[in-house]
Symmetry: C2
Subunit: 122 residues, 2 copies
DNA sequence: CCGCATCCTGCACGATACTG
DNA sequence: CAGTATCGTGCAGGATGCGG
């Protein structure tokens, strides 16, 4: 008989959610929001220069829909909107940090592996 | 003055690597290899029914190139190949497990967030 | 200031057929 | 058994322009 399995096997639900959370830009957005606490739309744009406004909108909407980010209308005329990390998003951020840390630590090793592979493959 | 920053800010290198490691199928492949230790090509196909053989080949090559997976030719005629997790891949697996665990734990919460969002948005 | 609508392009992935 | 080759396609994401 087996106890609580520490390794849940991946399912479609996992993939779907992770796809929405680890997509090209959500990482950057979460990263920035976590670092600065709360940011306006155009502050985010400036903080992530490479992002287009369409992609930023999409990422924010997706994150908001999944409950990771809160969208707060501060005022209108001129309209001002603030985005901040929702509580559940904090936990995710820890995981993302772990991924970033791991990546940073192992990048050199990965580089060497690539060189070895490419040398053989040509 | 600030000490060693525990939150490395995301860079292009991070994204590039994570893109290759967290793509649609690599997660499944790593998952299976970690669970069974070593698997043959067609064993992997059967273990991940939804994957096409082209995608499996691509995922394996990418993981191999990045040093996450080792490809071992066991015999030829008939040719037999074994794939197994490389040491550095183990650490990654721990992170992926954490992601899966987190996802599992928070899926209900995310579901509710989505329903709330969709109710408002229509 | 904060977006949405539209058009366009590349690329990931699937389907299918073939080979050592 | 373990792949390669080729073709077709959906969709994420860039560029650009407009609107409350």
């Amino acid at each position: 008989m087996q106890e609580t399995d520490p390794r849940p096997t991946i399912t479609g639900q996992h993939r779907e959610l992770l796809d929405q959370l680890l997509d090209k830009w959500s990482l950057h957005v979460l990263d920035q929001l976590c670092e600065h606490g709360a940011l306006r739309f155009n502050e985010l744009r400036r903080a992530i220069p490479a992002i287009t406004q369409k992609s930023l909108t999409a990422a924010l909407r997706r994150l908001e829909r999944n409950g990771m980010v809160e969208r707060i209308v501060v005022s209108d005329r001129p309209i001002a909107v603030e985005y901040r990390i929702a509580p559940v998003g904090q936990g995710l951020q820890d995981l993302i940090d772990a991924l970033l840390l791991w990546t940073t630590a192992h990048l050199p090793e990965v580089e060497r592996a690539r060189e070895r592979f490419d040398a053989v493959a040509g």
